[in-house]
Amino acid sequence: MPESQTAHLKLCGITKQYPGCLANDRIDLSIQPGEIHALLGENGAGKSTLMKIIYGVTQPDAGEIHWQGERVTMRDPAQARERGIGMVFQHFSLFETLSVAENIALALGAKAGTPKQLEPKIREVSQRYGMPLEPQRLVHSLSIGERQRVEIIRCLMQDIRLLILDEPTSVLTPQEADELFVTLRRLAAEGCSILFISHKLNEVRALCQSATVLRAGRVSGECVPAECSDLELARLMVGDAEGLEAEYPKSEGRAPFLRVERLSWHNADPFGVSLEEVDLEVRAGEIVGIAGVAGNGQDELLALLSGEQRLPAAQAMHIRILGDDVAHLRPDARRRHGMAFVPAERLGHGAVPSMSLADNGLLTAYQQTGMVEQGMIRRGKVRAFAEQVIQRFAVKTPDAQTPAASLSGGNLQKFILGREILQQPKLLIAAHPTWGVDVGAAAAIHRALIELRDAGAAILVISEDLEELFQISDRIAALSDGRLSPQRATASTCPVEVGRWMAGQFDTSDTPVSTSAA
């Protein structure tokens, strides 16, 4: 990129050390006015740290920040905002109990005016950039896409020169993402620079003129995304890790194992989602994938399937395992039917953070013969089980007595998945199995799932990562606002169609779920 004009932002040698990890190692980066620049890298590569440094949330240990030609220090976010830098966080920094206008007023500072005074400007900005928004609405009543608009409009209320977006499309359907790109291009055309943080290669290629790729805290390459292949970009991101291109043969599946029929559930929680007439079938020896943007009923469906949320006995037939009604059973009883679960949150749901791996093994495997005898825990057997999991699934840990919280995400996930697989489940339900996990661990997890499938187990995977679902699932469906789309063989559909399902564009009434005989 020719340096025809002064770069809006120029970073030189930014270094940041956290206890135990060098998050940023001598990073250089420059962004021109009106440029849409991608920051690529997998989880843990140091993207978040770098943007926090730019936005003044944390301070670098070494290195220089140049803003519009001048060397500056970003003391705090307020100072960054004053200079015209805005940021949209991945986990929104919005307050649900406050209105849109109150949220924006709070962020802009006392000088900008009261919420009431800001309302006209909010309306004006939201219309100008094609993001309709009602200032008086409470944030908790907004959809996730609308919340993102609040964040963006909050940045646009000021004279903005650089907008940083952290994985903005991870909460959007493909169609919503396209709308966002229209807004971003318009902004760039007005001269605003955009730093777009992502790990989705196709989006980066569609939107960004240039890219900086991070790996393990360092710049591993700079490129023009449109001129690079997926594989080239992925190599830059993860090096030569195996499993990048893994393709797994699809499977047909055999007899139905889990059947969910017309499962409806009213969620009394006003922040939650209610499920409507969900029909789903998982056969032995297949992986069914459920796509969807977070907050469309995944948590609720999972709770109903695992038994954390039970239905009254009269509705027990809505979830059946091999003909047995189970919707009224507790999780432990469902496990006796051969079910096993890997929840979305590893710490605080799937594992007790402060307990040892051994105790976390006992947590779900206690019904295994021998771990508990006459109400007493057999410590030797508990430890042996955990050690077996650690060994079989290559979990990196000093020993089985290590607390779950001190393992890395990938290793803990391998332990949790291994703990369930060693119980030889006939049905495994896993939510976001590779979320926040490094590429190596993700590949190992995928292989373990495929192996379990090939051994004849039924598997249901709920994930927000469409790519992952297309890679491993044999049939696929999508959740949208508590409704489940029809399921289709993965080989005979495409991401665009599933994207439409994620946006709720499907009709369940005329597509029979199952053709196999009951």
Partner: protein
Amino acid sequence: MLLSLQPRGEASRAMLWFSPLLAALLTLLSGALLFALLGHPPLETLKVLLIDPLGDLYGVSELLVKALPILLCALGLAVVYNARIWNIGAEGQLLIGALAGSALAVNIIDWDSRWALVLTLLLGTLGGAAWAGLCAWLKTAFNANEILTSIMLNYIALNLLLFAVHGPLKDPEGFNFPESAMFGDATRLPELIEGLRVHGGFYFALLALVVVWVLLQKSFLGFQIKVLGLDKRAAGFVGFRDKKLVWIALLISGGLAGLAGVAEVAGPIGQLVPQVSPGYGYAAITVAFLGRLNPIGIVFASLLMALLYLGGENAQMAANLPQSITQLFQGMVLFFLLACDVLILYRPRLKLWARKPALVSAKEAPAT
């Protein structure tokens, strides 16, 4: 701030046990400072408070007498607090135990049978359990915060007790004192050693100690209670019956407190009086934390607390200090403990020495 805290990444096991000792030491230091400020010779006064009471066998016996109810209550609290159910109601459960036991005892003064004692103790234990059961019911059926309900039940229990000694249980021949009649001999817990007040409740405390230790350290029930306390969602995820666990933990806790209460009236006191407990149930809260919710730790902590009670009485007589010095020290030691506990998860750094965060070895990397 001059002091900065650095996360250790992993809890320090050494600090887990060092912190209570440090807290005790800081309490002693602050106590000495306080005495000096009030014009009492600090070391002399600390001796009066903490060493003099144990000068003879009688003193040791008194220490055990005071430690028993505290230990029983604190063992029960260890069970509920492991489930992160904040039962503040040991005091009320103790009073109800005393009241329930007394209600029976004053009606069977003439009995000779050993059953008199058994039934009295049983009724007291059940009374305490029932009082805690109220909390369990309010929590499981109505989602009512147990901190507030249990403390309200303390005040209600105290008023019930006062009502009883002023009314239905008042000794008709007691010159209108608010006290019950003295219990019959068959209802009294026997002295262990002739002439000393330490009594048969000692065996119950030992038994309770073993039972609670096995429950918390060895049993699957204890494991479930701990999981519920550490991580409610994980407990729900595997299908532990949370309401049942709340009930069990509170019933055990209340039962032990009730036993403590009835053992007081059937033991050293011998009748129901308004001052059954000088705040044993509250002291047990401090003891449970100081003992790290671990039965063995609690034994030491309750002995320390009993010593503070004895010392408080001694200080009043010998040094003319208010007896409330006991509670003052109780509060101090708990405060210091909580403050010192910061060392378990954090490494203190004085900003004066370390301007830049020092590099920490990779072994201690925090969870990612």
